[in-house]
């Protein structure tokens, strides 16, 4: 009887874990479309390879090595691409495809970044920001480059 109860407990835990991983899967916010040289993704203290096709999540930090570059398409069609020696943090991302509304905050801690904003920036003027260590860029539906030394 006790054994049976324990087994029930295990089954319940596995189901909970499955539904959690389903939720995590749903939190994918973008994808690496181009990659050259050494590209890594820092997530929850782990370093993952930033290969073409890799899915990204909120709070991921994407890093490029020397002579490396990466190109990312976000769910709202924002395009971010970073040159060599860059540290790009996807701090906060929320996008509701049905209404086209959302919020996107990214940081370029180091390196170079080219941005073509997507549907989120077409919403309110505060909906998308890119931070450098000392400045905050408010993006109003646009194409620009930014460097951080």
């Amino acid at each position: 009887m006790v054994f049976a109860l324990t087994r029930t407990g295990v089954v319940a835990t596995v189901l909970a874990a499955l539904s959690l991983s389903t939720l995590v899967g749903a939190a994918e916010i973008g994808q690496i479309k181009t990659a050259k040289g050494r590209v890594t993704i820092e997530r929850d203290g782990h370093t993952l390879p930033g290969t073409v096709g890799a899915r990204l999540q909120s709070a991921d930090v994407v890093k490029t090595g020397a002579d490396s570059a990466v190109g990312i398409t976000m769910d709202d069609d924002s395009l971010l691409s970073a040159g060599p020696g860059s540290i790009l943090s996807l701090d906060r991302y929320a996008f509701e495809p049905t209404t086209g509304q959302g919020r996107f905050d990214a940081s370029l801690n180091k390196g170079t970044l080219a941005v073509i904003s997507g549907r989120i920036a077409k919403g309110s003027s505060d909906a998308m920001t890119v931070r450098t260590p000392t400045a905050v860029l408010g993006v109003r539906g646009t194409e620009f480059v930014v460097s951080s030394e």
Partner: protein, 215 residues
């Protein structure tokens, strides 16, 4: 004048030049690029309470410790500093709008031909990512319109897979969603679907529309 005063003056001028160097040292650059379709855009650069608006092509700012400092950049400078980042830019999403025959889930003859263009666009991209968004007109309530939009998107997604769109390597190949356009008057919304692809996609709205994108 005493030697002490002279040393003090030198010290003051040394401190001043340090401050000036610090004020001029840039810790970053922002350049607004020309928009492909020419519509007006802007980036607002804020440092503390200092704000600078870049709203012309090649309007640029240097980030300095005190404030953003405006200047005009050249295409050559952008290429020299940002060439690698710009070369890594993914292809833009391509959007297609397909129309249904009103009151049915069958595409119009014209839109049937678009399906071939969508498949070709998907094939062109190394990591296709397809989003199909079903639309309705804005008559009626959002809940039922969203449900109808979802239904149209699902049927379009199934149709594309039925046309031989291969199962992608990525976890979530084709997503189907409902799209709402609250700002548009009902009369501006035909029956359609849109498809966009980060590798390809199609969109449709209205009584019988659907859309998808490739990106």
């Amino acid at each position: 004048m005493s030697e002490f005063a002279s040393v003090a003056r030198r010290a003051v001028s040394w401190v001043l030049s340090c401050v000036l160097v610090a004020a001029c040292a840039s810790s970053g650059t922002i350049v607004l690029l020309p928009e492909k379709d020419g519509h007006p855009t802007a980036v607002v650069v804020k440092e503390g309470d200092k704000e600078l608006i870049l709203d012309q092509p090649y309007a640029a700012a240097k980030i300095t410790p005190l404030r953003p400092s405006a200047y005009r950049a050249s295409p050559q400078e952008v290429e020299a500093q940002f060439g690698a980042a710009l070369a890594a830019q993914p292809a833009r999403a391509t959007a297609f709008t397909l129309y249904f025959i009103q009151g049915s889930d069958e595409l119009t003859d014209e839109s049937k031909q678009d399906v071939d263009r969508i498949l070709a666009e998907i094939a062109r991209r190394p990591v296709p990512d397809v989003l199909v968004v079903g639309h309705t007109d804005a008559v009626g309530n959002d809940t039922s319109n969203d449900a109808l939009g979802q239904q149209r998107a699902d049927s379009m997604r199934a149709a594309l897979i039925g046309r031989g769109l291969s199962r992608p390597k990525t976890s979530e190949p084709f997503r189907a969603a409902s799209g709402r356009r609250p700002s548009q008057p009902p009369t501006a919304l035909p029956s359609r679907v849109t498809a966009a692809s980060r590798s390809w996609c199609a969109e449709g709205a209205g009584r019988s529309a659907e859309r998808s994108w490739a990106r």
